[in-house]
């Protein structure tokens, strides 16, 4: 990220991580163990910003911690586009076509997500459409030739925090059901910390000069599923879409 020191200070000062005294158990190679099956308990997938309830969509509070008003700092043109997206969301939401959700949306879908770790990778496997995120931990760089639905994630450890740099994002994904969006210039830095035994604090700072007037940050908690012998099942979205199309013929 290319933020000024002042902006970085704002993040650090404005977004204190909870329970800093907790020390997470380690994997065999000595890094914090983030493994398990996790899920948010919020409505970020409906709308990242403050929102009232609509049909089948619960109300919820903004997960945006910076800027302090909890709103995405869109340029005027982008704000207009978001309004259009919202109006057309039933048809236009890429998730309605069962497309790969992209980052950060895959992190707060209402589906369980399993994290596993090896020395070279952190793998995040979502139950939604068998979606897969591979975070390279080997110091390698983003490729310079292709964009991906799920972007390209390269991570490193900053103390006890997993820091993931996400680039190469296709412009076709949305952040939520409400049409909050980005362009191909999106760049994300995620900070993931196991702040309690069964809690991950998830923070993502997003910049996209084509769409936002300044970088902004969301923060939320992921809760560990503790049901015994829990496994990810399947939500094979495109299968159900086909079934629905057949039924409506």
């Amino acid at each position: 990220m290319r933020y000024s020191a002042a902006v970085m200070f704002l993040f650090v000062a404005g977004v204190p991580l909870a329970a800093q005294s907790y020390k997470a158990p380690r994997t065999a190679d000595g890094h914090p163990d983030l493994q398990g099956i996790w899920q948010v308990m919020n409505t970020a997938a409906v709308n990242l910003e403050d929102h009232i309830a609509t049909l089948d969509m619960p109300a919820g509070r903004s997960v945006i911690v910076d800027p302090p008003d909890g709103k995405i700092p869109y340029t005027p043109a982008a704000a207009q586009q978001q309004k259009e997206n919202y109006k057309n969301r039933v048809k236009a939401d890429p998730l309605n076509m069962c497309y790969i959700p992209g980052v950060p949306r895959v992190m707060y879908l209402p589906f369980p997500m399993q994290i596993v770790q090896t020395p070279k990778y952190v793998v995040m496997a979502s139950e939604f459409a068998h979606s897969l995120r591979r975070i390279y931990m080997d110091g390698s760089k983003h490729p310079d030739v292709a964009l991906f639905w799920i972007g390209d994630s390269r991570g490193h450890w900053d103390g006890d925090t997993l820091v993931v740099d996400v680039a190469n994002n296709l412009p076709d994904t949305w952040f939520d059901r409400s049409g909050n969006f980005h362009s191909d210039a999106l760049h994300i830095v995620e900070r993931i910390t196991r702040t309690e035994p069964d809690l991950l604090t998830y923070q993502a700072t997003l910049e996209d000069p084509k769409v936002f007037t300044r970088p902004w940050t969301m923060q939320m908690l992921l809760y560990r599923h503790r049901e015994p012998n829990l496994k990810l099942l399947e939500y094979e979205c495109n299968v159900y879409l086909e079934d629905a199309a057949k039924e409506s013929r």
Partner: protein
């Protein structure tokens, strides 16, 4: 993959499904190559093509992961003859699938021991309803089909798990090795429910709970929800893994049958999987027109 070239980008973008279906067989010269016919795309000899099988090269002794599992981590290419097109021996070309060998080692004739009515159904699917091929619809493959997946796969072994990460449809198969039981038989899944255990140097995976909506191949060899698969995966050295799977399903087979093959480590040490975004750009169904035995009008869009 780090060796970026036009083919990779093509594959990563939208036409891979078409390429997958109509690219020529590995090592078989074929004019009707479809999208894969341009350049080296889709040929078995291209190390980044869908059907590449790494040559047999003797490796070092198998190492151990930090939690003591035999270490199979890395990128693997399946050597299962032409099972990806049809799992059983298929001496007669049909539907763009050339003559070739499958991967069945028992029975000795290399054919699926179907009951008569099931054999008729498989033939019917192949001859009249090939547009139903699940992977043409971007459905994830079942087990054992996932073991001889196009583009191969990456194995990662965090403590207590073996994960297979596939390029096709950008998906995963997670096999716990911590002794947990199968889920309830009431829950059926495309991938089924797999539980694994290490027996010495062999990973034994028991898979139940499949939903009967997957095929073994592109040739109508279907499954039912009664399918039970036991896979035995044995790393031989750092470059080679032996694979076998026993398939039973009393609903459609007269006896259990077995496939066998090998996995060869991909020679590219800097290999990275690409994103095969299947649903997002599926061009495959439109290729199943009357000309190749499909029913184009059944296909939306």
């Amino acid at each position: 993959m780090k060796k970026w070239n036009t083919l990779n980008l093509l594959v990563a973008a939208v036409t891979a499904a078409a390429l997958m279906t109509f690219a020529p067989l590995p090592g078989v010269s074929q004019e009707k190559g479809g999208k894969g016919g341009k350049g080296k795309g889709g040929r078995g000899g291209d190390p980044y093509g869908p059907y590449y099988a790494a040559p047999v090269i003797k490796g070092e002794p198998v190492g151990r992961t930090p939690d003591g599992q035999p270490d199979m981590q890395g990128f693997w290419t399946p050597r299962f003859n032409q099972a990806i097109f049809e799992v059983q021996n298929h001496p007669t070309p049909q539907r763009g699938i050339g003559p070739g060998k499958g991967a069945i080692v028992d029975p000795a004739d290399g054919l699926i021991p179907y009951k008569p009515e099931a054999a008729a159904k498989a033939k019917e699917l192949m001859s009249k309803n090939i547009y139903l091929e699940p992977e043409a619809h971007c459905f994830v493959s079942g087990v054992p089909h996932a073991a001889y997946q196009q583009f191969g796969y990456q194995i990662v072994q965090p403590a207590g798990y073996v994960l297979f990460l596939t390029e096709y449809a950008h998906t995963y198969r997670a096999v716990p090795t911590d002794g947990r039981p199968h889920i309830s038989p009431n829950v059926k899944l495309f991938r089924g429910d797999s539980v694994g255990k290490w027996e010495g140097g062999t990973l034994v995976i028991d898979t139940t709970n499949q939903n009967g909506k997957t095929w073994f191949d592109m040739a109508g060899n279907f499954t039912t929800p009664a399918i039970h698969v036991v896979e035995r995966i044995t790393p031989v050295d750092t470059n080679n893994i032996d694979y076998e799977a026993v398939v039973e399903d009393p609903a459609i087979y007269t006896r259990p049958w077995k496939i066998a093959g090998q996995l060869g480590r991909h020679p590219d040490k800097d290999m990275e999987l690409m994103e095969f975004a299947c649903v997002e750009g599926n061009q495959d169904l439109v290729h199943y027109t009357e000309g190749v035995g499909g029913t184009a009008k059944e296909v939306k869009k």
